[in-house]
Symmetry: D2
Subunit: 287 residues, 4 copies
């Protein structure tokens, strides 16, 4: 079973490295060759184009930063689609939109190949630890074939049905995450303005039913109003909120709290905080 | 060290029972005598009035359902204050307002006694397991004296400074809790309307950085739109949100998301959901 | 018919002057004597205390800046109440709370006098032009007696029933006004950020069904981000929003949009804009 | 000067009739022929297709119900574009999106013709009275040529610059309108729940600085919870809010209040109120 991996950013590199460690025969491609060379050092073969990756392998994984990058590696004479054919499979683990996934599915199917969208929850650390959550939707036979492969990158893998569902699930997940983070920021701002010690609020929160790893990680950063190194950039979270709210409009679901959370993230973007971690939304929440 | 315990509801009974189990000499009083008799069966002495409890003991704990009940047992010729004197201490573990705590402190001080406000986070189960979080504020010497006592009822005990701070901390805590629960409800409503399986959303949430006991407990109840047995009644949560927003006004802290969360809880009250668990707010969120 | 007038600020001075112009026998009192002297120049008698005003006149009008000022002139041995007796009437035209009006009614009734609360809508200009809207609630017989008097200060006078209703009506009126102003500010901010001319937006708005004097007055000030001279101070509008939201909580009415409008006004207060006109909320709305 | 008119719904019929009354030589087309026959009775020539209209006239006005209808009459061998050529002009008075206007401009320019987008503010009555507000953007020379024509349909005509600006202006206008209407509904709901007479609130509002025709028209309908005949359907207002919020996202402008107003309109859609007048949003606001 030959595996292709396209897109070797922070996440992709860690995920590809885990596949190499698990013994898979890996062919990689990346826009900048630095990352490719790094993976080559771990045993990967470097191909000359996304098309070449697809031609030489059974299953191609794409892990791109954004929808534009997905489109760029997908199309054209050097693109992935040009290298696909019957019996192969494309697994897009990037976070894109339902529309782009549907289009990828259509393009893959036209070559006879199968398709899965498989966005992940989790950032750098879980990618390195192979403890990502992987939401998968699309062609079930391809899912059954690559499940062992996915198991080397994530610890929780869910099959969610037709193409589009994995993207929708990821949006719902991120909506909850943004709402929780905002609730934390507002609680900390209230505590701080009321003369309380936010570290003690974090202790109280962590001692009860709402105790969770995100609060333990982000809480002290928010309290310190630190540099907010971008584990998950604020601009990406705002994009996901926007897409979640559009999905909500499409399905007729009012989301009062989330719409206000989105405005807070927009206000943070307007303050040029988009490249910081999404917890930097605290800067527009605190007085 | 003789201990008094006034207010034997669901929480108070469990907490008093833990004190008896730990070997404390306990004198109790409750408006209805059923609960008193139950505690008597476990070794407690039953007194004829709140005043009698205060007269016979060194430290009196009050655990009342609401501010009105606190005022009722505090004042009058049969009230706790009438039985206090120098050397004694009053510990109010009810959730009240800053104003009522300040008044209790003043009334206790006028008798020469000391005062602590000590509201708890956690409901029936943690009360039974002695795993409550106890937020304490007021007279530090009294805190030092009763810390061993508090340790038999809670596992996390924080001293927060001057009277009022424990109430404020509890409000900040509940604000975060309400925001998180609302985020969960909105995420589940979006998932459900989008044709996704909310059980799978709960799995995704539980597999990542936002995993927390409250989602594990309430999520399936929300998915089932169940009876919502009131671990923490919705009307009490709305009251806490109202008080938190007033505190925010007093200290000049805007809270955009929390103000909308409060309106959702108000909408739930208007639908007569006040006596259900606060997670019943899901009924006004789902389309 | 002898009339007393207490409180000669911007509004009160203009209203009292209109009564003098209409030929009423007027006795006045004001904390600072400058304003009293001005009215004396127009024919008013100046009394030594609020009590003296009440003793010498049939009907006493109070027009104070805030609830604290009402309490100050109402109580004590020199206060209005001390000068009231059967056959007299107190008309409080200040904007206060339902509680303070109820208390004023009780205190007046104990002397045998009657009471009306009669807050006004409109600021300096309508006060000068005798074109205020006057919302009246309380003792109907007193209303019938003083209607001709009120007609010299306002052009629209409504009797609303029991004491408290006029305050509630004013809160509902100001809630609508704040919501409209916020809608204008958001529309102008969107237009401006989109490269449109906000003066043209104001023209469009003024040419259609939403055309109103407030937009014509405030719109250009908002566009110019001017000094915002306080026709109606922002801090007073925020106070009214707070009271309106509390009333809404008391009567079980969710107000999603108004709760967010209130947070915008709170954010403006936090930016020290409280003493500017309430249209200065535009400064926290524009990016 | 020969004029074409395509789209004879409620608005278009009234506007076309005004052009006939003003003596213009008018050729019309409509999907259903009933409306065409009506206009023929007033002196219009009926053409067989949108293309035929464009071929026989100098300037073609389109007034379609929605973007899909615009696309339908624009394209294809029978469409307007197929009948355009150098020297002619297309004026689209429908409310569409910036994208569709840009595309119409491009398509018209490719034939050598000029283009204007010219959405209107106002509904049936102002259309009949020729008192619409017309927001115009696009090719200035065409604007100068057709200004006399536009003046027979509207009383306020603004030229706003490049194509897209008229659509943006209309979105800003409708955002303000929706915010105002929501403020009115919330104020009326508060008054009603507080035991006040909403008719008196409407009197108060109409007597002061916020007095406006929309409140006079819609207020009594809202008070009566009437049938809400659709002068402007709620679903169209929600669509405009959605587009306005997307524009706000594009230009980086947070809109806290409008985002919540949009959720209220979405909630109304979810209650199947979309075909009623947009003031029917009151049904989801009142308790």
């Amino acid at each position: 079973m030959k595996i292709g991996f396209i897109g070797l950013g922070i996440m992709g590199s860690a995920m590809a490295a885990n596949l190499l460690r698990a013994g898979f025969d890996l062919t990689v491609w990346n826009r900048s060759t630095d990352s490719s060379n790094l993976l080559a050092g771990l045993g990967a073969t470097v191909a000359a184009s996304p098309r070449a990756v697809a031609e030489r392998t059974d299953f191609v994984i794409a892990m791109m930063a954004d929808p534009e990058a997905v489109k760029a590696v997908r199309s054209g004479s050097d693109g992935i689609i040009a290298g696909l054919s019957k019996g192969k499979g494309l697994i897009d683990m990037s976070t894109v939109s339902v529309e782009i996934s549907m289009e990828s599915a259509r393009l893959a199917h036209e070559t006879g190949a199968l398709f899965l969208e498989a966005p992940v929850a989790g950032s750098r650390k879980p990618a390195e630890d192979a403890s990502l959550t992987i939401m998968v939707a699309g062609d079930r036979p391809l899912y059954d074939s690559v499940l062992p492969l996915l198991g080397k990158m994530g610890k929780k893998i869910l099959y969610l049905g037709a193409t589009g569902n994995a993207t929708r699930m990821k949006l719902a997940n991120n909506l909850v995450m943004a709402g929780m983070l905002t609730a934390l920021c507002e609680g900390m701002a209230l505590a701080s303005q009321s003369g309380l010690d936010t570290a003690q609020l974090l202790e109280v929160l962590d001692s009860g039913a709402v105790s969770n790893p995100m609060f333990r990680l982000k809480g002290p950063q928010i309290a310190a109003n630190s540099e907010f190194p971008a584990a998950f950039p604020l601009k990406h979270m705002q994009k996901d909120l926007r897409l979640a709210l559009r999905l909500a409009e499409d399905v007729g679901q009012p989301l009062f709290a989330a719409s206000v959370v989105n405005e807070l993230f927009k206000a943070a973007l307007a303050e040029n905080l988009g490249d910081l971690d999404f917890s930097a939304v605290s800067r527009v929440i605190r007085k």
